[in-house]
Amino acid sequence: KSNTHGPTSSKNRWLFLSNACFFSSPNRTEISARIILPLGLPSPELGTAGAYSQRPSSIMIHFVCLISRQGKVRLTKWYSTYTQKERSKAIRELSGVILSRGPKLCNFVDWKGYKVVYKRYASLYFCMCIDDEDNELEALEVIHHFVEILDRYFGSVCELDLIFNFHKAYYILDELLIAGELQESSKKTVAKLISAQDSLVEVAKEEASSISNIIAQATK
C-alpha cells in the first residue's frame, strides 16, 4: 500500500495537511506554502489608476446591422470575425433587447462586454457594436451620418428603398466605413464616389484615357 497510509513521520504530516487544505487547484501553494497574496486583488481596470483604464483604442466597429421594428434583418455587415451561428445569435439577442426598449432610454446597451449603440429611424433600427471604452455618442453620430448619406442618395430614404436595394446600401456603407473604422467623414466625397461607381463605365473610360494621356506626356 502507499506510504500515506501510515502517517507517522513529520513528512507525512505535511502530506496530510496539504491535502487537507488544498488538493485540487494550483492554489495549493498559496496556503500550504504560506505565500501571502494581498487579499484585495485589484482588477486591472481599477489598479492602474490613470493611464491604462482610460486608454481608448481606435474606434472599432465590430458590426453594423439594420433591423426592422418587426425584428427583420435589413442589412448586416461584420467587421470582426463571427461564424454564421454567432451572427444569428447576436442578431436574435440584440433585437430582443433593443426592440423592447422604451423611447426615452439611452441609445446604448451592454452586450457581452461591448456596447451596442442603436438609433431608430421610422420603423428601422440602425445598430452598431463598438468597444466598451469608446465614445458612444460618436458612434451614434456615425449612424446618423450614414443615414444622411442614404437619404441624399435615395432622395428621402425609406425602409422600402433599403429592402429592395440592400446591395446599394452595402456599397454606400463600404465607402463610409472600412475595416471597422470611419474612413470618410465628408458626405460630399462619399456621394461623389458612389455616383462615380454608378456611372462606372463612363468614368472608367475617361479615367483610362486621361491616365494614358498623362503617361504619354510623361514619357515624351
Partner: protein, 974 residues
C-alpha cells in the same frame, strides 16, 4: 440618382423580397428562404448562365446569407465573379466575397491573385473595390503577397485610393503588427496629405501605433496640436463640416491621440492645454455631435497631466450632462465623472443626487454605468451601502456576462474595504449563494484563509467569535438546495476545521451534515473530497481530545462507498480516514494538530532523512551529486540565455525568404562533459526545442559530441514567455536581480506621479457644495442614501481623499490590507505585486527598508516625486524628439524649397492645405514619373483636386484674413 439607377432585377427576385417582407413569422421566413436556396442550388449548376443573370444570383445569395442562412454552396461563384473583367460584375463579386468570407476561409487563396492584379489596375474604381476586399479578406499569411502594392498605392493620385490603402495598412497592423512595423514613416508622411480625408484616415493607424508605443511618437505632439487647432478653427473644406461643426470626427480622433500622448507627460500635456480649452469653449453644446466632442475632451483632460482650469471646465460640462434630460447625456456624464473622480474626488459631491437618480433609473444601461462609477468611488466609509446595492442588483439580473463582472467587483470591494470580518463573511456568503459558479476559485481560498487567520488581530476571542459565527452561518445555509460547488467547498473546509472547535456542536452533528452534503452532491467529486477531508479532521480532533469516536452509520457507508470509488483521489482519502481513526491520540496529535491550518510548515530542503540512503548508494559506487551551479559551463549557458532573451526580433508568421545555410559551431570544445549520464541529457534535450521556428544556423547539439556550454546557440526567436531554462534556476542569472529593481523603481515613480496631481488638485480647487439648495425637494430616503454613499460630512471625506492613496492602502479599516502588507514584508517569497497604485507604494517600502514606518516613507516619496518625474520627462522628450523630427520631416522640409517654384501662389497661405500639398509633391517627386504628372495636373487647370484646393483657399482668404501667420506651419514642418 436614386433607386432607378440599379440593375433591372428580375420579377422573381422582387417577388422573393416581397414575400419575405410579408412573412408573418420567423418560421415562414425560413421556409421561404429554404425554398430559395433549393432554387439557387439548382440554377447555379445550369450550364451557360448569362453573366447578368449570374450577377443577380450572387445578390440573391447575399440576401440569403444576410437573413442568417448558409449560402456557402454559392461562394465559389462569387469568387469567380471577382475574376470578371466587367466592372459591374467584378464589383458585385467583391461585395459578395467580403460579405461571405471570413479571413480564415479556404477560398481566399483563390482571390489573392485577382486582388494582386486589380491593385495594379489603372481604373481607380477597380483598385478601390480590390482594397475593400483587402481590408476584409487578407490575413496574416497573405499580407506579404499584397503589401508592396498597397504601399505603392499610398502615393496614388486619387485620394480615395490613398485613403483605402492607409486603412488597409492599418488592418495589416492590427492583424500582424510586425508586418508593417517598417512602414511607420509612411503613416507619418500621410499625416501631411493634402486631402483632409486621407489625413483623417491616417489618424486611425497612428492612434493604434501610439496606443502600443507612446514614446516614439512624442515628437508628433506639436503636429497633432497644430492640426487640431486648425480643424477647430474651421480651416478644413466645408464638406467636412457636420452639423455646422468643423470635422468633428477628426477632432475626436485627434483628442484620443492627444490623451495617449499626454498621459503622464507634463511637458507634452502643457502643449495641449490651449487647444483643448479652446474646444471646450467653442464647441456647440446643443447638438449631439458637439457633446460627443466635449465628452472626448473630458476624456482627454482626465488622461493628460492635470490642469486646474481644464478640470474646472470639464467639471462644468459634466454638471451640464448630468442635469440634462437626455439619458444619453446623463450616461456620458456618469462615465466622465468616473474618469475625473480620480483626479479631483470632490467633484462627485455636488452631483450626489444626480448619481442616485441614475442609480434608481429604470434604464439598465444607465444603472450599470452608475455602478461602475460607484465602484470607482468606494471607500471604507461607504462600502457597505455600495456592495449591498450591487449584490441586490446582481441577484435581480439574468445576464451571466454582466453578473460575473459585477460579482468580481463586489468581491474586490469587499476584500479591499471590509469594515468588519463579520460583514465580510456575510457578504461573501451572499455572493457565493447567488453566484457561486461565477466566482473565481481564488476568492473562495481567500475567504477560507481569512476565516483561518482572522484579520491579524491579537485578540483570541475575536478570532474564535469569527469562526463560530462562520460555522453558525454555514450550518444554517448548508441545507439550502443547489448551492454552488465553490461555496460548498468553503463550507466543508470551515466545518472540518472549526465545526467542533468551540464545543457548541457535537462531532456527530457536524459529521452528519458533512455526509449529507457528500450525498446530496454526489456528482461533484471536488465537494465530496472536501467533505471527506473535513470528516478526517473532525475525527482526528475528537481522537486527539481523548473522546471516543462514534462513526455514524451514514458516514460508515459513505467511507465504504468511497474506498471503492473510481476516483483514486477519493479512494485515497477514504483510506486515509480509516487509517487515522485507527491511530491513538498521540499519533493523531502529531499528524493533525488542531487549529494548525495557518501554521507554517517547515520543510528542510536538504532532505536530511535521505542522507543514509545516499551514503549507502555512494559506498556502492554511485556518482556523487554535483550541484548544478558547480557543473562547468552551466552558468555560462544561462548567462548567454538571459542576455539573448532580451533582444528578440519580432517574429513573423510565414517566412518567404530562403533559410540561411547552417554554420559550423565557431568555438571548439574545451571542456569535456563531466558525467555523460546526467549533464548532457539535461542540456541537449531542451535546446533544440527552443530553436523551433528559428530560421537557421543552429547546429543542433547532439548528446554524443557537444560540449554544451561552448556551442553558441541562436536564441533569437525564442519567446520570452518560456522564461529562463530550468537548469539555471538554482543560480540566479546575473540580470534578474537588477531588472527586478528597475521595475520597482519605475513603477514607483509612475504610481507617485499619478498620486501627486490628485493631492495638489485637492488643495487648489475647492467646490462649494451646492447641496443646500437642492436638499429642499429631496425625499429623506434619498438624502440618507446620499449621505451614506458620499459620506456624511464632506470635510472629513475630503481629508481622507487628500491623504491620497496611501492612507487607504495602509489601513483600510485596520483590516486585511494592513495585515497583508505586513506579511508581505516578512515573507521573502513574494508574489509580483499586483498592478495597483496603492500596493506598489507598499512594495517599495518593503524592498527599500522593511522596518521603516511606511507613512513616513510615502511622504518622502511624494515630496520627491514632482521633480524627479518632470526631469525624467524632459530627458525623455529631448532625447527622442530631435532625431525623430529630423527623420520624419526631413524630406518634407526639403519639399518646401523644392516645390516652391510650382506652388508659390499656394505656398504663401499658411493653411493646412497648402503646407500639406507641398509635402506631397515631394512624395511624388520621389516616385520619378509622378512629378510630371502632378505638374501637368496643376497646369491643366480645371481639375477636381484643384477646385477643392481653390475652394478652400478662397474661403480661407475670405473668412480668415488674419491668418497670415507663417509660424503655424513651422510646427508641422519641423
Amino acid at each position: 440618382m436614386g433607386s432607378q439607377g440599379g440593375i433591372g432585377q428580375s420579377k422573381e427576385f422582387l417577388d422573393l423580397v416581397k414575400s419575405i417582407g410579408e412573412a408573418r413569422s420567423k418560421a415562414e421566413e425560413d421556409r421561404i428562404v429554404l425554398g430559395e436556396i433549393e432554387t439557387l442550388k439548382r440554377r447555379l449548376v445550369e450550364p451557360g448562365i448569362p453573366k447578368r443573370k449570374m450577377k443577380e444570383y450572387i445578390i440573391r445569395l447575399v440576401y440569403i446569407e444576410m437573413l442568417g442562412h448558409d449560402a456557402s454552396f454559392g461562394y465559389i461563384h462569387a469568387v469567380k465573379m471577382t475574376h470578371d473583367d466587367n466592372l459591374f460584375l467584378k464589383r458585385t463579386g467583391y461585395l459578395a466575397v467580403t460579405l461571405f468570407l471570413n479571413e480564415d476561409h479556404d477560398l481566399i487563396i483563390l482571390i489573392v491573385n485577382t486582388i494582386q492584379k486589380d491593385l495594379k489596375s489603372d481604373n481607380f474604381l477597380i483598385v478601390c473595390a480590390a482594397l475593400n476586399a483587402v481590408c476584409k479578406l487578407i490575413n496574416e499569411e497573405t499580407i506579404p503577397a499584397v503589401l508592396p502594392q498597397v504601399v505603392e498605392l499610398l502615393g496614388h493620385q486619387k485620394e480615395a485610393v490613398r485613403k483605402k490603402a492607409i486603412m488597409a495598412l492599418h488592418r495589416f497592423h492590427q492583424k500582424s503588427p510586425s508586418s508593417v512595423s517598417h512602414l511607420v514613416s509612411n503613416f507619418r508622411k500621410r499625416l501631411c496629405d493634402n486631402d483632409p480625408g486621407v489625413m483623417g484616415a491616417t489618424l486611425c493607424p497612428l492612434l493604434d501605433l501610439i496606443n502600443r508605443d507612446v514614446s516614439s511618437f512624442k515628437d508628433l505632439v506639436v503636429s497633432f496640436v497644430s492640426i487640431l487647432k486648425q480643424v477647430a478653427e474651421h480651416r478644413l473644406p466645408k464638406a467636412y463640416d457636420y452639423h455646422q461643426l468643423p470635422a468633428p470626427f477628426i477632432q475626436i480622433r485627434l483628442l484620443k491621440i492627444l490623451a495617449l500622448l499626454g498621459s503622464g507627460d507634463k511637458q507634452s500635456s502643457e502643449q495641449m492645454y490651449t487647444v483643448v480649452g479652446d474646444i471646450f469653449r467653442k464647441c456647440d453644446s446643443s447638438s449631439n455631435m458637439g457633446n460627443a466632442v466635449i465628452y472626448q475632451c473630458i476624456c482627454c483632460v482626465s488622461s493628460i497631466h492635470p490642469n486646474p482650469k481644464l478640470l474646472e471646465s470639464a467639471a462644468d460640462q459634466i454638471a451640464r450632462f448630468l442635469k440634462s434630460d437626455s439619458h444619453n447625456l446623463k450616461y456620458l456624464g456618469i462615465d466622465a465623472l468616473g474618469r475625473l473622480i480620480k483626479l479631483s474626488p470632490e467633484i462627485a459631491e455636488q452631483h450626489q443626487l444626480a448619481v442616485i437618480d441614475c442609480l434608481e433609473d429604470p434604464d439598465d444601461t444607465l444603472k450599470r454605468k452608475t455602478f461602475e462609477l460607484l465602484h470607482k468611488m468606494t471607500k471604507s466609509s461607504n462600502v457597505e451601502v455600495i456592495v449591498d446595492r450591487m449584490i441586490d442588483y446582481m441577484i435581480s439580473i439574468n445576464d451571466n456576462h454582466y453578473k460575473t463582472e459585477i460579482v468580481s467587483r463586489c468581491v474586490e470591494l469587499a476584500e479591499q474595504f471590509a469594515p468588519s470580518n463579520q460583514w465580510f463573511i456575510q457578504t461573501m456568503n451572499r455572493v457565493f449563494e447567488h453566484a457561486g459558479d461565477l466566482v473565481n476559485i481564488k476568492v473562495a481560498h481567500n475567504l477560507m484563509r481569512l476565516i483561518a487567520e482572522g484579520f491579524g488581530e491579537d485578540d483570541d476571542t475575536a478570532y474564535t467569535h469569527l469562526r463560530s459565527s462562520a460555522v453558525d452561518s454555514y450550518l444554517r445555509i448548508i441545507g439550502a438546495p443547489k448551492l454552488p460547488s465553490v461555496f460548498l467547498q468553503v463550507i466543508c473546509w470551515v466545518l472540518g476545521e472549526y465545526g467542533t472547535a468551540d464545543g457548541k456542536y457535537s462531532a456527530s452533528y457536524i459529521t452528519g451534515k458533512l455526509c449529507d452534503v457528500a450525498e446530496a452532491y454526489s456528482n461533484d467529486e471536488t465537494v465530496k473530497a472536501y467533505a471527506v477531508t473535513a470528516l478526517i479532521k473532525i475525527y482526528a480532533f475528537e481522537i486527539a481530545a481523548g473522546r471516543k469516536v462514534d462513526i455514524l452509520p451514514e458516514c460508515q457507508s459513505l467511507i465504504e462507498e468511497l474506498s471503492a470509488s473510481h476516483s483514486t483521489d477519493l479512494q485515497q482519502r477514504a483510506y486515509e480516514l480509516q487509517a487515522v481513526i485507527a491511530l491513538d491520540a498521540q499519533a493523531v496529535e502529531n499528524i493533525m494538530p488542531s487549529d494548525a491550518s495557518s501554521k507554517e510548515i517547515e520543510i528542510d530542503k536538504n532532505l536530511p532523512f535521505l542522507n543514509d540512503h545516499v551514503e549507502r548508494a555512494i559506498e556502492k559506487g554511485a556518482q556523487p551529486y554535483i550541484p548544478e551551479s558547480e557543473r562547468s559551463g552551466f552558468s555560462n549557458a544561462s548567462y548567454l540565455n538571459s542576455q539573448d532573451l532580451h533582444d528578440i526580433p519580432p517574429s513573423h508568421g510565414l517566412r518567404f525568404e530562403a533559410y540561411e545555410l547552417p554554420k559550423q559551431p565557431s568555438v571548439p570544445l574545451t571542456t569535456p562533459p563531466i558525467s555523460i549520464g546526467s549533464s548532457n541529457e539535461l542540456i541537449a534535450v531542451p535546446e533544440p526545442a527552443y530553436d523551433r521556428g528559428n530560421q537557421a544556423a543552429v547546429s543542433v547539439p547532439s548528446s554524443s559530441n557537444s560540449g554544451p556550454a561552448e556551442v553558441k546557440l541562436r536564441l533569437d526567436g525564442v519567446q520570452k514567455k518560456w522564461g529562463r531554462p530550468t537548469y539555471s534556476s538554482s543560480s540566479p542569472s546575473p540580470s534578474a536581480a537588477p531588472s527586478q529593481d528597475t521595475v520597482n523603481g519605475l513603477t514607483v515613480s509612475n504610481g507617485a506621479t499619478s498620486v501627486t496631481p490628485a493631492i495638489s488638485k485637492g488643495r487648489e480647487t475647492t467646490y462649494e457644495p451646492t447641496r443646500k439648495s437642492q436638499v429642499v425637494e429631496i425625499s429623506p430616503e434619498k438624502q440618507k442614501l446620499a449621505a451614506s454613499l458620499f459620506g456624511g460630512s464632506s470635510k472629513q471625506e475630503r481629508k481622507s481623499s487628500l491623504g491620497g492613496g496611501h492612507k487607504t492602502a495602509a489601513k483600510p479599516s485596520g483590516g486585511h490590507g494592513a495585515e497583508t502588507s505586513v506579511k508581505k514584508m516578512a515573507v521573502p517569497a513574494q508574489q509580483p505585486p499586483p498592478p495597483d497604485l496603492l500596493d506598489l507604494g507598499e512594495t517599495t517600502v518593503a524592498t527599500s527598508g522593511p522596518l521603516i514606518d511606511p507613512f513616513k516613507q510615502l511622504e518622502g516619496l511624494l515630496d520627491m516625486v514632482e521633480p524627479t518625474s518632470s526631469t525624467n520627462n524632459h530627458g525623455d522628450v529631448n532625447a527622442t524628439k530631435v532625431p525623430d523630427v529630423m527623420a520624419s520631416f526631413g524630406d518634407t522640409a526639403t519639399a518646401v524649397e523644392h516645390g516652391g517654384n510650382h506652388f508659390s501662389s499656394i505656398e504663401d497661405v499658411d493653411n493646412l492645405m497648402s503646407g500639406l500639398s507641398s509635402a506631397t509633391t515631394d512624395v511624388s517627386s520621389d516616385g520619378g514619373i509622378a512629378t510630371p504628372q502632378s505638374t501637368a495636373q496643376i497646369s491643366k487647370g480645371p481639375n477636381l483636386k484643384d477646385a477643392l484646393q481653390k475652394d478652400a483657399l478662397v474661403r480661407q482668404m475670405g473668412v480668415n484674413p488674419s491668418s497670415q501667420n507663417p509660424n503655424l506651419f513651422k510646427d508641422l514642418l519641423g
